[in-house]
């Protein structure tokens, strides 16, 4: 490998990325918008868990007074009983209460309705000792940020390397490079390194910028987080090399990249936790590098884990990178 040739391709690719303003701004603007969108949409002062409609509030029997004082239940005065019952039928209200007539309505299929019924019957009745702790709540946005940044990294890695190489092949850039002493290894290394550092830089910038305004919870080490970010990005870039190895049709490449990226986006725990999902989904998610990157990043950020605790994710990311890169590089064709 000639370092001079590697650096030449690396510089040219960096220039291309930086000058392609639409791609650059999309890489920065999209994650910022998502983070802000979710920060505002889910950051609300209300911590109410249930909605109870109360009919004819003035005439409530004293037996339900204790229930009406419970925290985290939103009590809504309703004017018309019939309309309110319909809302219970449709799960828009978890319960409807009219103790003046001695009745309450819940939907049999509503879990919230069931819980409220238990509270209504015996609120706060326990013989166990109460222990209290204090601490800041983990907001959805704190949990979401590794997922959103991970998703952005995935799209940037797959399309930024895979799609670009296919485009180069289609329009003849690769053919022209093949006619020079540049080797495939030098070319691919430059593509990987160029995209890797650009993604790490852009992601760090987006993280720092949104952190400044939203303020994330970060209980672990930034260095560990950086390592996970670099390894996760590297593994997904290597994955894109497999897609880009031989294709010369942008439409096919686009389809395959979407086929790879969408399941990752849905099943890697970007938007919601996989903890409650079926075992098979959880097992399936482990084949995606994005899952390991996000899980490791969340463990570091939210649980304050060190590298030792996320070693399994790191090892899997390293193994995936090596496997993807070997397949991608070995099957690579200039044309």
């Amino acid at each position: 490998m000639r370092f001079k040739r590697f650096i030449a391709v690396l510089s040219a690719r960096n220039l291309e990325f930086i000058r392609d303003r639409s791609a650059l701004s999309w890489n920065i603007v999209l994650p910022v918008l998502i983070v802000f969108g979710f920060a505002f949409a889910f950051t609300t002062s209300s911590q109410d868990l249930f909605k109870v409609g109360v009919y004819d509030q003035q005439k409530q029997a004293p037996t339900v007074e204790a229930f009406l004082k419970l925290k985290h239940i939103q009590f809504i005065t309703v004017e018309a009983l019939e309309t309110a019952i319909t809302k219970v039928e449709r799960h828009q209200l978890d319960m409807l209460l009219d103790s003046s007539s001695g009745s309450y309505w819940i939907n049999d299929s509503s879990a919230n309705g069931y819980m409220l019924e238990q509270l209504l019957k015996r609120p706060g009745d326990t013989t166990l000792n109460k222990q209290t702790v204090t601490g800041d709540a983990i907001r959805y946005v704190d949990w979401l940020i590794p997922g959103v940044l991970g998703m952005n990294i995935m799209f940037s890695s797959l399309f930024g390397v895979g799609y670009v190489i296919v485009r180069y092949r289609k329009n003849g850039v690769l053919k022209r490079l093949k006619a020079t002493p540049l080797t495939a290894f030098e070319f691919l290394s430059a593509q990987v390194v160029s995209r890797l550092w650009l993604i790490v830089a852009v992601t760090s910038l987006v993280y720092a910028g949104t952190d400044l305004l939203v303020g994330f919870r970060m209980y672990g080490s930034y260095l560990s987080l950086l390592l996970v970010l670099v390894l996760g990005t590297f593994s997904m870039i290597c994955l894109s090399l497999i897609v880009a190895a031989r294709l010369s049709n942008e439409e096919t490449a686009n389809g395959i990249l979407n086929l790879v990226s969408w399941p990752m986006m849905m099943l890697s725990g970007v938007w919601f936790s996989l903890e409650g999902s079926p075992d098979i989904i959880q097992q399936l998610a482990l084949i995606f590098p994005l899952t390991h990157m996000i899980q490791a990043a969340r463990a570091i950020m939210i649980d304050g884990d060190g590298l030792l605790q996320v070693t399994d994710h790191i090892l899997i990311l390293i193994i995936m990178s090596v496997v993807f890169m070997t397949i991608g590089a070995r099957s690579f064709k200039w044309e």
Binding site: K4, R19, V173, R176, T180
Partner: protein, 295 residues
């Protein structure tokens, strides 16, 4: 003169299509070798096998007496028929990029001046005109000061002035004793630039030699042209004239121009618009294959 490139029984099949069928020739160092033929004759396929871009189905290509290896890539300059350059990169940066691929390079300033690219160094390669783009691609092909330069239909799509300017550049390269391999379907271009030509059709070489030698070998006559309306049709049957009408003109093939003109004067044919031209490579191709070079 020594042989720099030797092609032996070269064959290329694409599935059931036989694009190149046992082509053999040698190229002498310091000469311009032209591959001529209509579209689909197998020129580009042959050249791309010589360039190492396409693998051959069978046959051999020897560069300086040995199979082409890394040295060949380092010493060859290539200008493809169609090529794209990396987007968002300027002309100067593109030259810089390619110059870093080679162990030995030509000073960029000299190359920029020779190919008249000085005004466009800061221009995005996508914003170049056809002529400017071809000059840049030629400059890229020359960036490693190559021993052998491949030019695949370099002037296709250029206007006549840009084409002539390009020929001048190629002639300058020839002056440096570089070996050139040129494919073209412009006969004038081949005649102007090539020392040796091989005419291809259906994947085979059907004639080879210097342009003048080929014309001399196949033709011992000239063409006399007259407006068709000035030549009575009764002359069409005259056994002393090889005459045929085409596009409002009469072409008379003549081994002895003086004798033919005397004959025409005797018939009182007006000679005001008479033209005489030598036989061209286009004529040769028509004669050999029965179809035009650009068909």
């Amino acid at each position: 003169m020594s042989c720099i490139l030797q092609v032996e029984k070269l064959v290329k099949h694409f599935g059931t299509v036989e694009a190149v069928n046992g082509v053999s020739f040698t190229i002498e160092r310091g000469t311009c070798f032209g591959l001529l033929g209509p579209n689909g004759a197998g020129k580009t396929t042959t050249v791309e096998m010589m360039e190492g871009i396409l693998p051959s189905t069978s046959g051999s290509i020897q560069y300086k007496g040995a199979p082409a290896d890394e040295t060949f890539r380092d010493e060859a300059g290539i200008m493809f028929q169609e090529t794209s350059l990396q987007e968002f990169i300027q002309v100067g940066e593109t030259l810089e990029l390619f110059s870093r691929f080679y162990s030995h390079t030509r000073p960029l300033d000299e190359l920029i001046e020779r190919c008249a690219l000085g005004e466009y160094l800061d221009r995005d390669v996508r914003k170049l005109s056809g002529g400017q783009r071809q000059r840049l691609l030629l400059a890229i092909a020359l960036v490693n000061d190559p021993e052998i330069v491949f030019l695949d239909e370099p002037t296709t799509g250029l206007d006549p002035q840009a084409r002539r300017n390009f020929w001048q550049l190629v002639n300058d390269i020839k002056q440096e004793q570089k070996t050139l391999v040129l494919t073209t379907h412009y006969m004038e271009e081949a005649y102007e630039l090539c020392d040796e030509i091989a005419i291809m059709d259906h994947g085979r070489i059907i004639a080879q030699g210097s342009p003048r030698a080929l014309l001399k070998k196949h033709f011992d006559n000239s063409v006399i042209l007259l407006p068709a309306n000035e030549v009575p049709e009764t002359l069409d049957q005259d056994p002393r004239l090889k005459l045929h009408r085409m596009n409002g003109q009469v072409e008379i093939l003549s081994e002895d121009v003086n004798a033919t003109i005397d004959l025409l004067m005797a018939q009182r044919i007006p000679l005001t618009h008479l033209q005489i031209r030598s036989r061209t490579l286009e004529d040769l191709f028509l004669e050999l294959t029965g179809r035009g070079l650009r068909s």
